[in-house]
Symmetry: C2
Amino acid sequence: MRLKKYTDYALRVLIIAASKSAGELTSIKEIAETFEISTEHVRKIVHQLNKLEYIHTIRGRNGGIQLAQSPEQICVGQVVREMENDFVLMECFDAEGNQCVLLPKCKLKHALNKALQAFLHVLDDYTLADLIVNKQDLRALLALE
Amino acid sequence: MRLKKYTDYALRVLIIAASKSAGELTSIKEIAETFEISTEHVRKIVHQLNKLEYIHTIRGRNGGIQLAQSPEQICVGQVVREMENDFVLMECFDAEGNQCVLLPKCKLKHALNKALQAFLHVLDDYTLADLIVNKQDLRALLALE
């Protein structure tokens, strides 16, 4: 079972932005270098996080990226829902791609759906603030200190 | 979020085997044709399900595949655990492949792990018997009637 890399990186972008001190900005370049991923990949994720109003980007020479909401307001479950967006756990979750003959009467899909809801429900109990309670440790790892 | 196709098909093999009447066997050919997948793929899955003692295969002309346990004894959560086997939800779940600098102090992995346990816990409440309560409907879809 895997989440998309996109979701993984989106959460990391939020963690890095939340690990900053007041007024401190991050940047696509910093994120890409920190996690050793392409700037193009980061750019797409930042674009979506911006569209979803989790972050805003400040243009110009001293520009950069910062959170658009307080970490307490950003629900991890919600971010995962928005970044994953499809949750095709198995073929039968894909309305267009399903070829399984059992679908009309299958009880497995219902069980998997219940399991998925339990998964997301746990993440709904976490905000971004919970992920940076040890902010100083994270800042040290991110070499921000 | 996706489960492996391998897990999807393994559960379908168990459902088809459980949908048979006493003494009725299924076969790699029947499974492959029913789900429109390659016999090679089915063969691998059947081999593993056999190794795990969920099914046994009877050789010979009138041979085939049948459940090795009663459907009530086969836990869906356990099958998913065994077929998925790695659960690399994100990069940090992959001991060898992780490159994320945050890992030593990250709280996200803990949250995701808790969510994963909740997911599996729901599936632990289901046995194969729960997936075939409407066995006659499934038999009709499988054209066994």
